[in-house]
């Protein structure tokens, strides 16, 4: 038995470890439990290693087009294992960094699979049993499995790939992001099921590396959460790159043979076709990890595979909290981190507000990049707003031309009545690094006036953000 913790976080993903560090900063005696890796999926099998892969693909792409910039590069090729090795190295380095941060903040790391036995009642703390796990070796200094007690227990167990019955990933021919991230060799052909951020990023990566790629999306639009205009532009670009896209289409059957998978795909017109590929990536979303945590026994309220909270992390069971993917969509690392901080600050009694989920940006790191925040044009209209829409194309921006990236668009949506920035949507080079400018503006509740009065540096891509706002009010300069 150990001393009672003030806060025990289950799951050391981006949500969990940030929560633990913030808790420690607030003076809580804190521990974080994980069964596999510090930094979670994000850092080990998600956000970070895919960015490393995509960077390799991007540089490869530039080398193939070196002559566009007056350079020459002959016999450009790649080594798949070296690309994967670099990606793993990036994850490994950051994984070690998380361990260091936790240690520095005096957060105990407990290794194993946790189950909540009870929550705190009166002076009696909650109890968590941690079972030994063979999944991965414990980091140095971690506490072993056993029984632990804590006043507040925060679930940050994340999510895992959704599996469609009959098309269950087998790790060999049907991949999830785990396998797709560490290919032994580049597949010659690939079928991607699902066109959300994960599916599109892998499609973009493998297409750049030379694979024949087909993307199948159930809904009529790829990147279904994005603005229709942006998604339409993305589709055109992908198709120009040679990616085959089937929307309104459903994979009904998958047959495996020695060297290929053959998928039967039913279109919206009811006609079926068969497409064979070396590999199939199943990227049809993620589901919360709510199993084996003891939730049923405690009577924790869940909804469609995620835990229901009050927006400040509190579940219906006092003393038990949930943040991040397991607490519901949008399942994004930055949302998890923010929720975790709100949760522990609420426990501390600080002045907190539930997160405004309408102001969480989303980024997709395909080529071209896509970034957005707030309402799409269609959603804004659906909610009854009279909108003013601004657009500015990359072709009108000096920096974009100089970069050799003349394709793209920055779109802004304002409430005509109040000038509130309702949403911003971008496609093109580096837009994932631009979007936060609009996020800050939205968080500060800027109107078009403040955005117009803001000075944007020249020459930068960010000037397009200014021009897009100006365009919404008929004041654009460069088109």
């Amino acid at each position: 038995m150990s001393d009672t913790y003030d806060i025990l976080v289950i799951g050391a993903g981006p949500g969990g470890y940030v929560t633990a560090i913030r808790a420690a900063q607030l003076g809580f005696k804190t521990a974080v439990v994980d069964r596999e890796h510090l930094g979670g999926i994000c850092l080990n099998w998600g956000c970070i290693p895919t960015k490393a892969l995509l960077r390799s693909a991007e540089i490869y792409h530039y080398m193939q087009h070196a002559s566009d910039y007056g350079l020459s590069a002959k016999e450009v090729s790649f080594d798949a294992s070296a690309i994967v090795k670099r990606s793993r190295g990036v994850s490994g380095r950051l994984n070690g960094g998380v361990g260091m941060l936790l240690k520095k903040n005096k957060v105990d790391v407990i290794w194993g699979e946790a189950t909540v036995e009870s929550v705190a009642k009166g002076n009696e703390p909650g109890k968590v049993t941690v079972k030994e796990t063979k999944r991965a070796e414990a980091p140095k200094g971690a506490k072993a499995a056993g029984s632990y007690t804590a006043k507040h227990i925060i679930l940050a167990t994340g999510a895992r790939p959704r599996a469609i019955p009959g098309i269950e990933p087998d790790k060999k021919q049907i991949w999830t992001y785990y396998e797709a991230m560490v290919p032994e060799a580049m597949p010659k052909s690939l079928l991607v099921m699902g066109s959300g951020a994960i599916g599109i990023e892998f499609a973009s990566f493998y297409r750049t590396m030379g694979a024949e790629v087909t993307v199948v999306e159930l809904l009529p639009q790829i990147l279904p959460v994005e603005d229709a205009e942006i998604a339409g532009m993305a589709r055109k670009r992908f198709e120009k790159q040679g990616i085959k896209i089937l929307t309104g289409a459903k994979v009904t059957k998958v047959e495996k043979s020695a060297n290929a998978v053959t998928a039967t795909i039913e279109g919206s017109d009811g006609k079926s076709q068969q497409i064979s590929a070396e590999k199939l990536i199943s990227a049809v979303g993620v589901v919360g990890n709510i199993e084996n945590l003891g939730l049923e026994k405690l009577g924790v309220k869940t909804d469609r595979g995620t835990i229901v909270t009050d927006g400040l992390g509190r579940t219906n069971v006092p003393g038990l909290y949930a943040i991040g993917d397991v607490a519901g969509p949008p399942m994004l690392a930055h949302k998890a981190e923010h929720e975790g901080v709100i949760c522990v600050e609420t426990i501390k009694g600080l002045h907190t507000h539930p997160m405004d989920k309408g102001k969480i940006p989303g980024c997709t790191y395909c080529h071209p990049q896509i970034a957005s925040v707030g309402l799409t044009e269609a959603k804004a209209k659906e909610q009854g707003f009279q909108v003013k829409v601004g657009r500015f194309p990359f072709a009108g921006n000096g920096k974009a031309i100089a970069l050799g990236e003349p394709d793209g668009l920055i779109k802004t949506i304002f409430d005509a009545k109040t000038g509130q920035l309702l949403g911003a949507h971008m496609i093109g080079a580096e837009v994932t690094e631009l979007i936060q400018g609009y996020v800050v503006a939205m968080t500060l509740e800027s109107t078009e006036e403040e955005l117009m009065h803001t000075v944007f540096p020249h020459p930068t891509l960010s000037e397009m953000m200014h021009e897009s706002v100006l365009d919404a009010y008929g004041k654009v300069i460069h088109t």
Binding site: H353, T418, Q420, L444, E445, S446, T447, E450
Partner: protein
Amino acid sequence: MPINVLMPALSPTMEKGNLAKWLKKEGDAIKSGDVLAEIETDKATMEVEAIDEGVLAKIVVPEGTADVPVNDLIAIIAGEGEDVSAAAAGGGAAPKAEAKPAAEAPKSDAGQNTTPGDGHMSYARVNEAPDGAKPAAGGGQAAAPASSGGRVFASPLARRIAKQEGVDLAAVQGSGPHGRIIARDVQEAKASGATKAAPAPAQQPAEAPKAAAPAPKAAAAGGAPAGLSLDQVRGFYQKDAYEEVPLDGMRKTIAKRLTEAMQVAPHFYLTVDCELDALMKLRETLNGSAGKDRDGKPLFKLSVNDFVIKAMGLALTHVPAANAVWAEDRILRFKHAEVGVAVAIDGGLFTPVIRRADEKTLSAISNEMKDFAARARAKKLKPEEYQGGVTSVSNLGMFGIKHFTAVINPPQSSILAVGAGEKRVVVKDGQPTVAQVMTCTLSCDHRVLDGALGAELVSAFKGLIENPMGMLV
């Protein structure tokens, strides 16, 4: 270093005032104690006294300027041996910025500015104002610096929505970082309807009479809730049928406070007849017995109204539950009676307050009233002399008014409207007889006084008036 003369605060709650008159010209030599200017506020006119020596280098705010915020630069004095023109040129710019923070906290330096005892004010100099006015650093997270006329922190979107929806930001509690008002706060305030500043211009009904009148401004100049707009009112009359009289501070205050009183305080009225014969007799006796001062003038001359004031003061202490005022979520109950007395003056009225009217002798009340009345007519009352009070006495008997009702003067909870004392036929023991009778009507704030309580107060008052010896012991 040139000395910056700032708009003084005449009372702790004063936020702005009118610069009525400059008594010194640019270039005049200034001695400490010289009267520089006259400042007019709600009700009082005060003189601003110099506390420095030098030359009046520049008048920044010309006389006749209305609504000058407290601590705004109004003039510059060049110190001894200083170049007057340089002082005039340089003094304004920098100190203006420096003076700003002071304006945010008029409360903290009010004490500095007020010279108690007489009707003169000294002004805050810029080199001392910021110190006294330093805003309290840090402070609570949620404490919104909204009220008190300071700067209101609100997001751009919150400001715009507030403007569009006619929500008064000063009345909105901010929930954002450091108490900043965010859009949601404004929407919630609007939904709760608590902070409607005034009908939003756009929503004004279109059927305005005759003149296609633009809707009234949010709050009319006087701060009174908007009724008909200026153009609407003009639309009713021939253009040459009237002359337009600008509002002075007192008129604006009367309009605002009494409109508010009628809208906020639920009034009801209790009327009683009081026989004055005993009182008149006693008054005659007392006045006849008054000693003389060195000049041979009597030391006091009691009026009927002095008895009324004293009777109200005593009645309040006899009925302690009525000696109280409404204060938002509670009632403030007083030990001693504070009785305001309406004094009509040219262009308006003042209501100076007799403190401890229950304890003071009739002669003390009488002399205090004479002093108040004289200074009220000269507009030289100090704010603390006409603020407060639990009740007031308004006597229109000298105009032959028999009976009337009065509007309660906030924050007071009642007001006694006193009519003329006149000979009437009354029935006593079944027989008609002639008595001197005065009709009094008490307006009561029902939030504080219920009917029975009000009646108790009125009958205590009547008892004292009709048996006036009770007021002497």
